[in-house]
Amino acid sequence: MSEKICEIKNLTYMYPKSDKGVKNVNLYINKGSVVGLLGESGCGKSTLAKCISGQIKIDSGEIICGKIGYIFQDNYASLNPKKRVGWLLKETIRYSCPENKDKSDELIKSILADVELDENVLVHYPNELSGGQRQRIGIAIALLSNPDILIADEPVSALDVTVQKQVINLINKLNKEKKLAILFISHDIKVVREICNYIYIIKDGEVVEEGDCEVLFNEPREEYTKNLLDSSYLSG
């Protein structure tokens, strides 16, 4: 049996003065697995990711997780526009893994190789890079903290199709080579099917169905899941 790297028990968070949020969510992620959170826009996927990563203080429940790395949806807004890429990576090492501060240069070289980027990106500002390069920098920052689990919050939704493919391949490679657990959040059913082993379907902040990727895609039990999958086939 695989080792659980992250377990969420009865997690609830409601936005103030609103009926939106996540309700009584239970989920677990095994070491080396890619778990998908699937649901329509606004269903609470990102809120759940923010709760797990500690960006939002939860109302109730329990989060037992190892070290988390977070990949943001908007690769442009998540990188400080006034700092060069090299500075951003060094800053991450300085505060996220201070024990490696002395060998930051070597660490940066190896991380850049992992995310398939050339070293000359270090002297550039984020606005001088392409969307794909920025997303790779976002992944490099998430990896620098040496995480047990990587939360990827719609990491490819802002990218064009070819770059999407490259980033998905990269995430797949990281999962296989580093045995990194990944919580992959998306509303894109095809992307989720391509990358995930296990899927949670979210509707209005609640998990309505879960299961192994192929089983869930081939034999969905819930009406909502069927409709969600049908909409994907309709959209081609």
Binding site: S78, L79, N80, Y125
Partner: protein, 273 residues
């Protein structure tokens, strides 16, 4: 090599400010003491030896304008420094933390903000007394409310952006998020605030000195010179003309620097090109 692209307005502003600085520095070459009185030169009009003429005590107005401009700029510089440091600090804390910190500090700032800066400076001068240090402190404190309000709104806006959330996620300490991560992203407002505050300070200083509650004689600032010249506006208009022209040019220079396209945009363009 790419160069910084500045608007003509900004270029003109920089040229005026450089001229003003040179004008003050040239004062060190002018060996006439700024307070040397000469009864033979009383109310003497502009000449080759005294291009700005002489005042009612026979003192060289050029030398007094140069030294007055220097003192005015120095007072304004340190006042803006005080206002910038404390205004930024208060604004950053209010905007970033919100909640009780914001409520408490903002209510104090709101009270101070409701009083006009010059009046506020007047209150502080009457508390601290007159003199260069006291006037600098008073003007510095008077700037804090407007500066902190501008900075508060900027920090409030920035703290919601994802790069700040990213910094929090990688455990960057709060003081570093505020001043190393966010502050460089508000330079546009920050620099403009400094120039506007500098302009306001020059004006407020001139106002205080004009009312006789600024620096003490024999020192003079541009405001003191205008005040002294008030009685001679018909008989010796040059006494008003040159200090006033200097004051206007100085304000124009800083006004031009703070208007139009920001330095930040000009700097970004440099990279895009």
């Amino acid at each position: 090599m790419n160069k910084l692209k500045l608007t003509n307005q900004k270029k003109a502003g920089i040229i005026i400010i450089i001229c003003m600085i040179l004008f003050v520095l040239l004062g060190f070459i002018n060996r006439n003491p700024f307070d040397l009185m000469n009864k033979d030169l009383i109310l003497k009009g502009p000449s080759l030896l005294h291009p700005f003429g002489c005042d009612d005590f026979g003192r060289d107005i050029l030398k007094r304008t140069q030294s007055g401009l220097g003192i005015s700029v120095l007072i304004s510089f340190f006042s803006v420094f005080i206002g910038t440091v404390f205004g930024t600090l208060i604004g950053a804390l209010c905007g970033y933390f919100g909640g009780i910190v914001d409520d408490f500090l903002s209510s104090i700032i709101d009270v101070l903000f409701s009083i006009p800066s010059l009046l506020l400076a007047l209150v502080f001068v009457s508390l601290f007394g007159s003199g260069i240090v006291q006037e600098t402190l008073a003007l510095g404190i008077a700037i804090i409310p407007s500066f902190s309000k501008m900075m508060r709104s900027e920090f409030k806006k920035q703290k919601e952006l994802e790069y700040v959330k990213m910094a929090k996620l990688i455990h960057v300490p709060t003081y570093r998020i505020l001043f190393v991560h966010i502050l460089p992203n508000v330079t546009e407002t920050f620099v403009n605030c400094i120039f506007i505050a500098f302009n306001n300070c020059i004006l407020a200083e001139a106002g205080l000195s004009f009312m006789g509650i600024g620096v003490k004689p024999p020192l003079a600032t541009l405001g003191t010179l205008l005040s002294e010249a008030g009685g001679y506006i018909r008989s010796a208009p040059y006494m008003v003309l040159f200090p006033a022209l200097t004051l206007i040019l100085l304000l124009l220079g800083f006004g031009m620097l703070s208007s139009g396209e920001s330095f930040h945009n000009a700097y970004s363009k440099r990279f895009k090109n």
